[in-house]
Amino acid sequence: MSADQADTRSSGGIDSLGTLVPIGFLAALIALWAAFLYAPTERIEGNVQRILYMHVPAAMTMYVAYSLVFLASVMYLTRRDSRWDELAAASAEVGTVFATTVLITGPIWAKKAWGTYWVWDARLTTTLLLWLIFCAYLMLRTYGGAGEHVARYCAVVGIIGFADLPIIHYSVQWWRTLHPEPKVMTQGSMGGGMETSMFLALALGTVAALMLFAVLLRLRLRLERMERRLEVAGQLLRSEG
């Protein structure tokens, strides 16, 4: 067996993720404890407000994932190194998982807080637009076929998608919206608009979500490399036979 084959075959299990999985599991348990037991119950909304500890960390992780897509796409377009393309593909898919979480937990919370699941508010609409852009990105990856041109188109779509992130972030300041203005990162301070225990619970939730992102990204990257390896092996087999 060649060294390459040995590498591919040994990468089948979760063991290659090392200490990331147990630490991530512990972080998730601590985050759940903080969300349900440590953080106080909000006076007006009551217990439903605890969705914040899942919704906001998912949104922040989505920002990180799509920023990584942007970085990897720019690097791919400038260096033409396929490893950047692999990273962009993996990060886009995992980012879309977090974006889906944001778009599902948000309306559930909104139904109780605003009395409706959905309004065509600037923050909600631009987030939905981002999700649709990255769905298009993933469809291009899936159905666009193989080849450098698909990687190039995807890099461009990834960069266009990223341009929506600052619009999402500032939409609550630029337009009158139902979605509340940021309380976590207010001008000049972190957590300035929140009670300390709530901010700590949110911070723990964000750490756990980022660790989950790291685990999912590594698993997805491994899958991406296997797919590309399979493609090369298939070509080799076809050329021989």
């Binding site: 067996m1 060649s2 084959q5 591919t8 075959r9 089948g12 909304e45 009551g46 217990n47 439903v48 605890r50 969705i51 899942m54 919704h55 998912a58 998982v97 889906t100 979480t101 599902i104 937990t105 559930i108 919370w109 139904k111 109780k112 989950l212 999912l216 698993l219 997805r220 491994r222 899958l223 296997m226 797919e227 390896r229 399979l230 092996a233 298939g234 080799l236 087999l237 021989e240």
Partner: protein, 47 residues
């Protein structure tokens, strides 16, 4: 639905998405690994 019902629905949805994606990744990895092993076994004897 009560306040706690919405809270449960929110967290359940988030975890369902996460575990659903993990299951999808595991299934795809297993399938690809099988196909890769198959194809590499065909190439190996001639290599």
């Amino acid at each position: 639905m009560s306040n706690l019902g919405f809270l449960f629905a929110g967290f359940a949805a988030a975890w369902a998405i996460t575990f659903g994606y993990l299951w999808y990744l595991a299934r795809r990895t297993k399938d690809l690994q099988r196909r890769l092993d198959n194809i590499e076994d065909h190439i190996e004897p001639d290599a």
